[in-house]
């Protein structure tokens, strides 16, 4: 291996390692995985960043009561039961913002339980 190729490979390795630290990747699908927690009456993170045309898996966990997770524009939804993480796949080819919300009534404040998927180019 030439020095140049060695440096390139090393850089690629470190870039991949850095990416893995900030954005977990699912071992079986190689898709980006973002973990989202739900509790009355908020999602964390409430702003989820994904890249356009890149499939992303959201791993959703409720920390208290039953919640819902719905992105009407994508027809994506899941029911979130504490202790049973759910997964949904998000794929959008258009940059922009997609609203998501809890669609299982969870109490006074339920209407505020919402967030945004930011689709970047």
């Amino acid at each position: 291996m030439t020095p140049v190729r060695f440096v390139r490979r090393a850089l690629a390795f470190f870039a991949a390692a850095l990416s893995a630290c900030t954005t977990p990747r699912d071992a079986t699908t190689a898709e980006t995985v973002v973990r989202v927690q739900a509790r009355r009456f908020e999602f964390s993170p409430a702003r989820i960043r994904v890249r356009a045309s890149v499939p992303t898996t959201l791993e959703l966990a409720s920390l208290d009561v039953v919640h819902g997770f719905s992105i009407p524009e994508l027809g994506v939804r899941a029911e979130l039961v504490s202790g049973h993480p759910a997964r949904v796949r998000v794929l959008s080819d258009r940059p922009g913002e997609l609203a998501f919300h809890c669609d299982v009534f969870c109490g006074d404040g339920h209407e505020d339980m919402a967030g945004v998927v930011e689709v970047t180019p």
Partner: protein, 311 residues
């Protein structure tokens, strides 16, 4: 109780106590006006006026127990509306509350206390026949248990003066679905109802996808509409969205009623759903109840705003 054979002018004058509201042309919403004849001739015959015309009243989203800036007069708003209704010259045959009678609470005892307070106010209505549907604030946290204790079944049907009325529960399931058992019940109920009988449906949430991002929809509403659309005369009155709204899907007409706590913005008109702020210069703006006249399968509406001086 007067038997009603009223012209539109009579209908408008009904609400003259305390000021006239506006009438929503329900017919105009649901049907195109008849086209002008191509050649001069006698005007088309007016639709037959059934002898069984009557009125009923829709109230919705009273949210007893609400405390917030969106309505600093929340504790008196329902009573003001009841005062206005009791001042009508002609009493409606019945009154229906289309859900969210109370503001939700985690405390089951407080939930029941709020329902009791609501019941005390409603007892002052000068109408004997009062019917109730739950909203998600009443029923979603306990699957309708407290509601049933206070007000009876969450779904029901009855016949009145030639119209079949059906109430559907799309809130006791906290995901906002009717569920297959209820859909089967609806189909069986309508199968027993003669095809020519007009049907009026009451629900809390809209049965169609008005604006799903704000939960202005019913998870399996399309299944209900598929059942309802087999009939030629179906009209749905619902609440939930805190504003008057009119829409048609297939052969089914849908009419949302105003709230008695605070108005909400038009569907999708703002990035985040939030109550329209209270304006001290126009208190109670956008709040009210609704008088519904039945004329065959037409239902002219008269919106009755809450007024500062009423109550």
């Amino acid at each position: 109780m007067k038997h009603l054979d009223l012209s539109r002018r009579d209908f408008l004058s009904l609400a003259s106590v305390g000021g006239v509201a506006f009438a929503s042309a329900l017919t105009g919403c649901a049907r195109a006006a008849p086209a002008a004849p191509a050649v001069p001739g006698p005007p088309p015959s007016p639709p037959p006026l059934p002898s069984e015309d009557f009125f009923f009243l829709q109230l919705s989203d009273t949210h007893v127990g609400y405390r917030g800036d969106a309505n600093p007069e929340a504790a008196t708003t329902l009573d003001r509306a009841i005062g206005r209704i009791n001042g009508l010259e002609t009493k409606p045959d019945f009154v229906v509350f289309t859900g969210d009678l109370t503001q939700t609470t985690d405390d089951p005892a407080e939930r029941r206390a709020r329902m009791a307070r609501f019941g005390e106010s409603v007892a002052r209505l000068g109408v004997k026949d009062v019917r109730f549907l739950p909203g998600e604030h009443d029923a979603s946290l306990d699957a309708g248990t407290a509601f049933r204790e206070a007000f009876g079944p969450t779904r029901w049907a009855f016949d009145h003066r030639g119209i079949h009325f059906v109430a559907l529960d799309n809130v006791s399931d906290k995901a906002g679905a009717l569920g297959k058992p209820q859909l089967d019940w609806l189909a069986a109920d309508l199968a027993r109802t003669p095809a020519e009988t007009p049907v009026v449906v009451f629900t809390h949430r809209p049965l169609f996808d008005l604006y799903p991002s704000w939960e202005w929809a019913t998870r399996d509403g399309a299944d209900a509409l598929a059942i309802l659309d087999r009939r030629s005369q179906v009209t749905v009155f619902y609440g939930h969205i805190h504003q008057a709204h009119h829409h048609v899907t297939g052969r089914v007409r849908h009419h949302a009623g105003r709230s008695l706590v605070f108005p909400l913005p038009a569907p999708g008109s703002v990035p985040k759903k939030a109550p329209v702020p209270w304006d001290p210069s126009t208190p109670f703006a956008g709040l009210g109840s609704r008088l519904v006249e039945t004329r065959g399968d037409d239902y002219p509406l008269l919106e009755l705003p809450v007024e500062r001086s009423s109550g």
